[in-house]
């Protein structure tokens, strides 16, 4: 009772998935911080709890993040990895930077589930190719899905209601929420979940990257990714303000797991901060919960209409 279903599922995966050589969790939420300890005691693979500072405006916080990146590196070496040369680190960062650019472009054109899946595959090591950002012709069904008659670009045959999906992480299977939104007449035009574009680091400074890749890594990740756990959380609302305006979303669906305090509190603020209608979807992560999610989404879309 009281344990976040995502944290529980993550812990389950660490202990049961084959071939897991190590687990890395961060302090961005108390649930994961304590899950890391629980995993350490459970006799599974080695665990690293990476201390990601909540504050961000001080040099001390950035220094802590940098130190933790180096500690992460040592952990990976202890698992059999190799410490990279500076040039290699810079090359990898450039490559990932290019991938993120593709993903951002794809999110802008594909929208919804497909973009989310691309990001998920990228997170698992699959780099997108440049053609991924090309949108299918209007009226063409996405592979494996029946043509719902919905169109992903404005001016299509039938306009879907643009909504933003904002919040915590999506676990495997949770992408069905995109389907639920589309089936109810909506379209996710801004994926601000932890699994979406919000969590993509900003473009790198190529010159600084060559001078000090680690410092650039700190600036890019620590300095630019907005989230509800950061204190103060001003960056999140700045980002939301910009992106909501650009996407013309007419409503916000907050995606969070039950017992997630950070996004629960954020959900309460979003309406007054943005002036948009907000649906607070707190999901339990089980099959029965999906039915409830669908109902709530349908009701929300009716409200927006």
């Amino acid at each position: 009772m009281g344990m976040c279903p995502y944290a529980r599922a993550f812990a389950g995966e660490v202990l049961s998935a084959p071939g897991v050589g190590g687990a890395i969790l961060t302090t961005t939420c108390d649930q994961m911080r304590r899950t890391a300890e629980w995993l350490s005691l459970a006799g599974g693979p080695p665990v690293l709890l990476m201390n990601v500072p909540a504050t961000w405006q001080t040099p001390a916080a950035a220094r802590l993040y940098r130190d933790e990146l180096q500690r992460l590196g040592r952990f990976l070496v202890s698992l059999g990895g190799r410490r990279p040369r500076r040039e290699r680190l810079a090359e990898t960062m450039e490559r990932y930077d290019a991938c993120r650019a593709i993903l951002r472009g794809a999110a802008g054109t594909l929208g919804g589930r497909r973009a989310s899946e691309m990001i998920a595959r990228f997170d698992l090591g699959e780099e997108p190719d440049g053609s991924a950002s090309a949108a299918p012709p209007c009226g063409t069904a996405a592979p494996g899905r029946a043509d719902s008659g919905q169109c992903c670009t404005p001016g299509g045959r039938r306009a879907a209601l643009p909504v933003a999906l904002v919040g915590g992480p999506l676990a495997r299977g949770d992408e069905r929420v995109f389907d639920a939104i589309e089936q109810a007449g909506g379209l996710v035009v801004l994926d601000g979940t932890e699994s979406g574009v919000r969590a993509l680091a900003a473009p790198l400074d190529r010159r600084r990257l060559r001078d000090d890749p680690l410092l650039e890594l700190v600036d890019a990740y620590f300095g630019t990714i907005p989230d509800a756990f950061r204190r103060p959380d001003a960056l999140l609302y700045e980002w939301l303000g910009r992106e909501l305006a650009a996407s013309a979303a007419r409503g916000i669906i907050v995606w969070r797991y039950v017992w997630c305090d950070m996004w629960a509190a954020a959900a309460a603020r979003l309406s007054e901060a943005t002036g948009l209608p907000v649906l607070d979807l707190h999901v339990s992560g089980d099959e029965a919960g999906l039915g409830r999610t669908v109902h709530q989404v349908q009701a929300f879309m009716e409200v927006l209409k």
């Binding site: 009772m1 099959e287 029965a288």
Partner: protein, 260 residues
């Protein structure tokens, strides 16, 4: 000398009369719980005394236990059902090391010391999903009596996964399963597995053997098997599981009266 144990549970009142010298049960009985906890318990006690042809004055000590124990005004003292179930089970099964008691409204785990005293315990009394209440809900949904659930579960071929952590939502899940064509047999088996897994979560790291299952829910066929599967260890059902609380109370009454 005779002692008496009264277990005023949330659903039923149980009474046991015990011969303090031989520790044999002289009479036992059960009635439905109601509003007048004291009156109902008193009436049941009188009925048993009459049936056993014993006078009230023969009872040297009476201990009340269970949810309504403090409402039973004629008890000499009260003891919680944790201690009573431990005493009652060990009386019948002297080697019991772990006791799982599932009643209508709660479930308990008791770990015993070698001498039968309680070493540690845990209770789930905030969530109906690990209690007999869940089975009642299922029985009602399937238009089956509680006693019929066992037969249904035995005929299951593929227990339906019940994922909800709350009985209310689980009931919705069951409706959905029926609507999608799931067999009632598989649903019942899934519910039993779900209850067993909730209870197993209380057990945590390993249950000392032997594990004994008691309480009213132990009488429902299929539950012991579900529990054994969840715990990955054999589970024995206590004899007359609904009465172990009252039996334990009577035994403790004996000890208090006789000093042993």
């Amino acid at each position: 000398m005779i002692s008496a144990g009264v277990d005023g549970g949330s659903r039923a009142i149980k009474v046991v009369l015990l011969d303090c010298r031989t520790r044999k049960v002289l009479a036992s009985g059960v009635c439905d719980q109601g509003v007048d906890h004291d009156g109902l318990a008193r009436k049941l006690l009188e009925q048993l005394l009459k049936k056993a042809d014993l006078a009230r004055s023969r009872i040297v000590r009476l201990v009340a236990t269970g949810y309504t124990r403090n409402a039973i005004g004629f008890a000499d003292t009260t003891v919680t059902e944790i201690t009573c179930h431990a005493a009652g089970v060990r009386h019948r099964m002297p080697k019991a090391a772990t006791i799982i008691e599932i009643g209508g409204q709660d479930s308990k785990l008791l770990r015993l010391n070698p001498d039968g005293s309680v070493r540690d315990f845990a209770m789930n009394d905030r969530c109906a999903a690990g209690t007999g209440r869940f089975l009642e809900v299922v029985a009602a949904r399937l238009n089956a009596g509680l006693e019929g659930l066992g037969d249904l579960a035995r005929a299951a071929s593929s227990p339906a996964p019940i994922s909800s952590m709350c009985v209310v939502f689980a009931e919705t899940e069951i409706i959905g399963l029926l609507a999608s064509g799931a067999r009632p047999e598989d649903i019942v088996a899934g519910v039993q597995a779900s209850i067993a897994s909730r209870v197993a979560a209380m057990v945590g790291r390993g249950a000392g053997a032997p594990v004994v299952f008691t309480g009213g829910v132990a009488m429902i066929p299929g539950m012991a098997e579900a529990l054994a599967a969840a715990l990955k260890t054999p589970v024995q059902i206590a004899p007359d599981p609904q009465m172990t609380g009252a039996l334990g109370a009577a035994i403790l009454a004996c000890r208090q009266a006789c000093g042993r």
